[in-house]
């Protein structure tokens, strides 16, 4: 008899009947609900043989396993997200030994969970990332600055000109980066004013994104469903304004509010 644990996907209110008919992360057992008064944990049974601490630590280094399970987890949270008005998404790999422990978790954190659910009601999360092809940006948006700097070398000797050219390249790059950042600052502030909240996350390296160009902004926004249209049209407007200068604005969503729930 294999010992079973309980894998937790999200916390929601229990006001609606639970009617999601889907297999959980193990592709075998169905999702179900554990209710404690008005709070509901959406869960599925998992084999403790595969989902114990040691086994998980090993499996997480198996790229194929992680890829499959990460996508499954995300899809299931997304499914739950679209079936409720408010959701608290749980991190990947959160498992409880038994039903009592889940209920204890709900009760011990009741105040915070309810606060989050109320605050997040009717909201979605969107990610806005900005990348920049700096070379292209310099060649399209810094012509005045380039001219000005180059005019400084017109009357120097060939040798000196070489070194000054190098220095100028460096200066151009620094100036370009700062100009790009002022564009992203402007965009962030504007989008903040059109959403319920926003947050800047760490910039990701090229290796982590697979992108050809550096990231200049990694922002997430919490938006009321009714405001999505305006928010996205603002992003679109910025995208069009920057279409030729090397600035790339990427959006992804709607997501459950992963970045906007906090447990005290």
């Amino acid at each position: 008899m294999v010992q079973m644990g309980i894998y937790l996907y999200s916390v929601v209110f229990s006001n609606k009947e639970f009617n999601i008919d889907k297999h959980g992360i193990d592709n075998e057992n169905l999702l179900y609900a554990i209710d404690s008064e008005d709070l509901r944990a959406v869960v599925s049974p998992v084999s403790m043989e595969e989902y114990n601490e040691e086994s998980l630590a090993i499996k997480i280094n198996d790229i194929e396993w992680l890829k499959e399970k990460a996508i499954l987890h995300s899809d299931l949270v997304n499914l739950i997200f679209h079936s409720v008005d408010s959701i608290i998404p749980i991190k990947f790999g959160t498992i409880f030994h038994n039903k009592e422990n889940i209920i204890n978790f709900l009760e011990e954190n009741r105040h915070s969970l309810v606060e989050n659910l109320i605050r997040l009601n009717g909201t979605v999360e969107w990610s806005i990332k900005v990348y920049c092809d700096l070379e292209r940006f310099i060649n399209t948006s810094m012509l005045e600055e380039k001219k000005e700097l180059l005019s400084r070398i017109s009357n120097t000797s060939k040798g000196a000109a070489y070194f000054i050219q190098k220095k100028i390249s460096g200066q151009m790059e620094t100036m370009a980066k700062s100009k790009v950042l002022s564009v992203t600052d402007q965009l962030f502030n504007l989008l903040m004013s059109e959403s319920t909240g926003g947050k800047l996350n760490k910039l990701l390296s090229r290796e982590a994104t697979g992108q050809k160009f550096d990231m200049y902004m990694n922002a997430v926004f919490l938006i009321k469903k009714a405001d999505i249209g305006l928010f996205l049209s603002t992003v679109d407007k910025y995208r069009k304004e920057n279409i030729d200068n090397g600035i790339l604005i990427e959006q992804s969503g709607p997501w459950a509010p992963y970045n906007f729930c906090f447990l005290d």
């Binding site: 644990g5 937790l8 916390v11 989902y51 114990n52 601490e53 998980l56 630590a57 997480i60 790229i63 992680l66 890829k67 990460a70 996508i71 987890h73 995300s74 949270v77 608290i88 998404p89 749980i90 991190k91 990947f92 790999g93 959160t94 498992i95 409880f96 030994h97 422990n101 978790f105 954190n109 989050n116 990610s127 092809d133 292209r136 996350n201 990701l204 390296s205 090229r206 290796e207 982590a208 994104t209 697979g210 992108q211 050809k212 790339l248 990427e250 992804s252 997501w255 992963y258 970045n259 729930c261 906090f262 447990l263």
Partner: protein
Amino acid sequence: MPIAKSTDASSLGEILERILDKGIVIAGDISISLADVELLTIKIRLVVCSVDKAMEIGINWWESDPLLSSKAKKENDEIKKLQEENQRLKELVDQKLTDNLLL
């Protein structure tokens, strides 16, 4: 220059960024908790997994990283072998020279 808006790598990246790193932080009876370094490594390895797409946009830095490429690892091992042999031969030469001096 056409830039892919949503590569496999980037959608997978968006997923990982959320489910491994965000969401409410609670201690389940069992939780996967990852240090920043582990998280970054995982993200990179998952990006590398979407190799075809990456190659399309000119990324192939892993080909020279011995941790990520068997070809690079082989070359790395060969270099190591040569270094060891070189060291051994050096010692041999030194010994011979010393022997010659003593004669």
